[in-house]
């Protein structure tokens, strides 16, 4: 238990309303988007500025207390689960976009700024912030930096690390250090590149300097309908093989199509086995020629129908379906667990077969909606939390799917991170020497191991009290 004087001192730093320690108010913070494990922090601290983050961390450093950083809590791997860390530092009150440089396409945003707000703030200038995770109306820049978040449009535009030029990091010692910045190529090691994706284990990112991209002149958005998942997968390979780089190339299977149609009534073909959502963007000039190639590849791979969004409204509808797919899952089952694996893109048919087999073996229903162009799969395992046996089967099937990804030459996470969820699978990818190197890297930033402890590394896993998951709020 934390001492009352410490909590009082935290209050003196962040204000009375910035410290939460009533047990009922802490319930909100006991898990993120990964709900299978839960643990409440003893106290949640909500700083208003980077300086307050630093002050709070200095206080914790003096007392050698561990902490967990948290943004909006939309993470999907339990990265914000407080394990062996009594204090949670939540960046959600640090919401200022501090600078917009249109001519140089730079933005400086505090950690708690919501991803979507950045693009909203610069859209009038014809710019946007490219990484677009499905949770973008809620997730924060700080969380995106911690997880190196992706999204559908990363196929062409890259993930978070390709768009972060600088970060300000509050080290566990309480020191604020500015790494990188608006100007590229500062001499020295790529510390910014190391901090991005470090899952909050190096400290707390308080600000980030982001690169913006110009909005494309035009889009071509297609919905291609297939009678088999294999045919759709072949079309994906065909499009990539034809030398095209679509802005997005997403696949949805029948279960998802049916759920989306039930939720949104947009005329999706509920008898189709798979649909591809394909988006080309860029200068108007090349789009027709590229569209013809996409159409030809889809047709030659047996697409029975190819719809093209005729205007912005139709494009928006198609994307609404894709981005709210997880919300529509609520119609299929009381609970779900989303996996996040990666395979070489030509192995998508193989991994889909492996997912189907795992589902059959464990008597589970699994829906698939994922970034096919990147080979980044997101099988959604449906279950009812009241059925403890089914919960166990979900966990077992999830493990088997990730093992299959690795066996196919892939990875156990493409954009959700290791967190607590995938700790047991880390040794599938990395040997003792690799993990030792990573732990030594961590100690460069956090020698005492107080920043988000018991994450990522297998040795670090301690027993968490796993409580019965409750019904999830759909994103």
């Amino acid at each position: 238990m934390l001492l009352a004087p410490l909590v009082a001192r935290l209050r003196s730093i962040v204000g009375v309303e910035g410290v939460i320690d009533r047990p009922e108010a802490l319930l909100v913070y006991e898990c993120d988007g990964y709900t299978l494990e839960r643990a409440a922090p003893e106290v949640v601290v909500l700083p208003r500025t980077p300086a307050e983050v630093a002050s709070a961390l200095r206080l914790l450093a003096a007392e050698r207390i561990a902490f967990v950083p948290r943004g909006a809590g939309t993470g999907l791997s339990g990265g914000t689960l407080p394990v062996g860390a009594p204090v949670m530092i939540c960046t959600s009150r640090m919401q200022r976009i501090e600078a917009i440089d249109v001519a140089n396409r730079r933005v400086v945003a505090q950690a708690g700024v919501v991803n979507q707000w950045v693009s909203n703030a610069v859209r009038a200038h014809g710019l946007c912030y490219a990484p677009d995770p499905s949770s973008q109306p809620a997730c924060t820049i700080g969380g995106n930096v911690a997880e190196n978040s992706g999204g559908p449009h990363t196929l062409k535009y890259g993930v978070t690390t390709n768009h972060v030029l600088g970060v300000e990091l509050a080290l566990p010692s309480g020191e604020l250090v500015a790494l990188g910045g608006a100007v590229e190529d500062r001499p020295g090691y790529d510390l910014v590149g190391l901090v991005v994706g470090s899952e909050g284990t190096f400290g707390i990112v308080t600000r980030a300097t982001l690169r913006l991209v110009r909005l494309p002149q035009a889009y071509r958005t297609f919905l291609a309908v297939f009678d088999s998942v294999e045919a759709a997968s072949e079309a994906v390979s065909g499009i990539i093989g034809a030398g095209l780089v679509p802005a997005a190339l997403e696949m949805m299977d029948q279960l998802i199509i049916q759920a989306l149609e039930a939720a949104f009534h947009v005329g999706l073909p509920t008898d189709a086995q798979a649909v591809l959502l394909i988006e080309l963007d860029g200068p108007v000039a090349g789009l027709d020629a590229q569209s013809q190639r996409v159409e030809a590849v889809c047709r030659s791979n047996g697409a029975r129908e190819l719809r093209v969004a005729r205007d912005d409204a139709e494009r928006a509808t198609l994307w609404k379906c894709r981005k709210r797919a997880f919300g529509a899952i609520g119609r299929l089952a009381p609970n779900y667990c989303t996996q996040d694996g990666v395979v070489p893109r030509t192995r998508v048919p193989d991994i889909l077969r492996a997912i189907g087999a795992a589902a059959a073996r464990h008597r589970l229903r699994v829906a698939n909606v994922f970034h096919a162009g990147d080979g980044n799969i997101h099988p959604i395992l449906l279950f009812d939390e009241r059925d403890r046996d089914e919960v166990a089967r979900v966990l077992a099937a999830g493990r088997e799917i990730l093992e299959a990804c690795v066996a196919l030459g892939g990875s156990i996470t493409g954009e959700h991170g290791i967190g607590v969820e995938k700790i047991d699978q880390v040794p599938l990818l990395f040997g003792p020497d690799d993990l030792r190197a990573m732990m030594r890297l961590r100690a460069v930033f956090d020698p005492e191991g107080r920043a988000n402890p018991h994450k990522i590394f297998p040795d670090a896993k301690v027993c968490v009290e796993t409580r019965a998951p409750r019904r999830q709020v759909a994103l």
Binding site: V183, G243, G282
Partner: protein
């Protein structure tokens, strides 16, 4: 000598000579391992003897960085020169560190693909050198840098163990991004032995348009308008006065590379012409855009006493070039300038060594004040003596020092070549 011969075989170890010198420092031995296991053996031997080791591919970029404090072993990796795995449909390629980029290019071209990184001297630039020195060329404008394309890496660490970071798939956030640690680290944290990259389809066409401009500022201004015009160029360089035979005569120029489908190139050319004519500027079409790009990429290895590399914001590129040219004129020195506008990188080739400290003194304080930098990118070792090659790495220096001590505790990897004497 026999100890090295035991590791790599007698024909692959020899005493160093003047031709092996790194910044004037002649290594005692030149050792060429033929496998990763032999690299491990060499690193272990160096560590055991407290010897300083500089890894090299074909020696094309050893003039980058500060002079090493010590040099015992030059570790030549050119025998590790294979393309290990090209997955054309997955768009990935796995390469040994000593593989030259020209071989990579030939291999990928057969599938209509490329690794879109175009440093100088592609025939003698190896994958390890590309990463360690973080080399880039004009393609950076649209394709990013090595860090943006690198998926995975294998590195021999100071304890001789092979460490794997990243993987072979195009999207991967498992564990820390260890590959980033070694990009641009100039071999000071380990010896890179293998790397996997994502690759891209090669544009079907590539041409260039030269916009002749009266001043570098005018060229930068036109360039920024082109970058904003909705048809993204494949590359865009601003050249200082007198740099280019094509088009501008003795003035400056914005040189715009256009790539992609015929339609895209046509649209790009129209955009450039429109931006130029609005400003009353003359344009010249260069049909072999790739050849011109190659020449521009070689800018920093053309004969010069030294090449400075200034980093600033894109909007400051014009003023930085103007300041440089004016300062050079005042001191009676010959300089040539080439800037990658979108990334804000200005290269300044200086004809006389005595002018380098003068220009550093003028440019560095102003640029560093605004978060920029000026690095002496290349020069002969004798010229580097007494100069601060890297400048101020900023507030991250203490972490960098800790990183170096953590991964190279006894200082065997290229001691002194990197920032802050690391």
């Amino acid at each position: 000598m026999s100890a090295w011969a035991e590791i790599v075989g007698a024909t692959h170890a020899r005493p160093g000579g003047p031709g092996d010198a790194v910044d004037g420092l002649v290594p005692r031995w030149v050792v060429s391992p033929g496998s990763v296991a032999e690299v491990q053996g060499c690193v272990r031997a160096a560590a055991a003897g407290g010897l300083a080791l500089v890894a090299s591919g074909r020696g094309a970029h050893l003039d980058v960085g500060a002079a090493p404090h010590r040099l015992d072993v030059l570790l030549r990796l050119d025998r590790l020169g294979r393309v290990l795995d090209h997955q054309a449909h997955d768009m990935t390629v796995t390469l040994e560190a000593g593989c030259p980029l020209s071989l990579v290019a030939d291999t990928l071209a057969r599938a209509g693909q490329w690794l879109p990184l175009d440093p100088p001297r592609p025939a003698t630039t190896t994958v390890g050198g590309l990463l360690a020195a973080n080399l880039a060329g004009p393609l950076r404008t649209s394709q990013g840098r090595a860090r943006d394309l690198l998926l995975g890496i294998r590195v021999v660490g100071s304890d001789g163990c092979v460490v794997v970071g990243g993987g072979r798939v195009v999207k991967n956030v498992a564990g820390y991004d260890l590959p980033k640690m070694h990009v641009g680290a100039l071999g000071t944290l380990g010896v890179i032995v293998e790397a996997t990259f994502k690759i891209r389809p090669r544009p079907e066409r590539e041409e260039a348009v030269v916009v002749a401009c009266p001043t570098a500022s005018a060229a930068a201004d036109a360039g920024l308008a082109i970058l904003d015009g909705g048809v993204p160029p494949l590359w865009l360089e601003v050249t200082g006065p007198g740099e280019l035979a094509e088009g501008p005569g003795c003035g400056a120029a914005a040189v715009v590379g256009l790539g992609g489908l015929v339609e895209e190139v046509d649209a790009g050319r129209e955009l450039v012409r429109e931006v130029a004519s609005r400003r009353g500027l003359r344009t010249t079409i260069v049909s072999d855009g790739a050849a011109l790009r190659g020449r521009l990429a070689d800018f920093s290895v053309a004969p010069a006493a030294g090449v400075l590399r200034a980093a600033t914001l894109p909007t400051e590129v014009g003023p930085v070039v103007e300041t440089t040219v004016a300062a050079a004129r005042e001191t009676g020195v010959d300089v040539r300038c080439l800037a990658d506008l979108a990334s804000g990188i200005v290269r300044i080739a200086v004809a006389e060594a005595t002018a380098l400290p003068v220009l550093l003194k003028i440019l560095r304080p102003a640029l560093e004040r605004d978060g920029g930098s000026v690095v002496l990118e290349r020069s002969q070792g004798a010229v580097k003596a007494g100069l601060d090659v890297w400048g101020d790495p900023g507030p991250g220096m203490e972490l960098m020092r800790r990183l170096k001590v953590t991964f190279d505790p006894s200082g065997i990897f290229a001691p002194g070549r990197f920032v802050g004497g690391l």
